[in-house]
């Protein structure tokens, strides 16, 4: 997967979004097996057209059913249909979240706390803060939590607070 290309197109198209999930954790903390890019987008009518343009540039495909799988349409309104979309792009798998479990309705707060960063190739992005990554894990049912990730995040938060 060409993660840099996905992040670059999102940035170039001025998509208001945060990198979340395993890639964000990997860049900031520890290697973790993950084969998709997860982004949380501001899900309003100002931002979704930018997102749709970026998706079309990335060659994204999605379908309401397997039989309807196809390049994403010109009009951005399909993005209003549900809270999460798992897409393919020519650069790899991309998950787009309009809301994130454990952080529902708190995009603006999380954006303000997010960490501006860049990949090794110099591609800029904002990554969800450790406290918010931890809140996502804590919102999962106990059997689905990533305990190693939670332990690393708690330790990083403790260190950042100087404890």
């Amino acid at each position: 997967m060409n993660v840099d290309e996905i992040l670059k197109v999102l940035w170039d198209e001025q998509v208001d979004c945060l990198l979340i999930g395993g890639m964000n954790f990997l860049i900031r903390h520890r290697p973790e097996l993950t084969f998709d890019v997860d982004v949380w987008v501001r899900g309003d009518s100002d931002n979704l057209p930018n997102l749709n343009r970026a998706l079309r540039q990335l060659g994204a495909e999605w379908g309401r059913t397997e039989a309807e799988w196809a390049p994403v349409p010109d009009s951005w309104h399909w993005l209003e249909g549900q809270g999460v979309f798992c897409l393919t792009t020519r650069h790899g798998a991309l998950d787009v979240f309009r809301d994130v479990r454990g952080l529902e309705g708190r995009y603006a707060d999380c954006w303000a706390r997010a960490i501006p960063s860049s990949t090794a190739a110099g591609i800029a992005f904002r990554g969800l803060a450790d406290e918010d990554m931890l809140a996502c894990q804590e919102a999962l049912p106990p059997g689905e939590r990533n305990l190693r990730r939670m332990e690393v995040l708690r330790e990083a938060i403790r260190r950042a607070r100087g404890q």
């Binding site: 997967m1 990997l26 520890r30 379908g63 059913t65």
Partner: protein, 57 residues
Amino acid sequence: MDSDQLKKREERKRDAAYDPVERWKHIQQTITWAEANMPPELRRNRPRTARTRSDQQ
């Protein structure tokens, strides 16, 4: 449908639609990218300073 069910349904659809050759190429690219983007102290092939004989004395 709750958000967990929706996510699982979305992943199933994508798995079915993903071209296996493309997917394998993307997995290989991801491993390379991940190695380059890990925190420096965790990279496998990071430069190390060779120990010289005088270091050991």
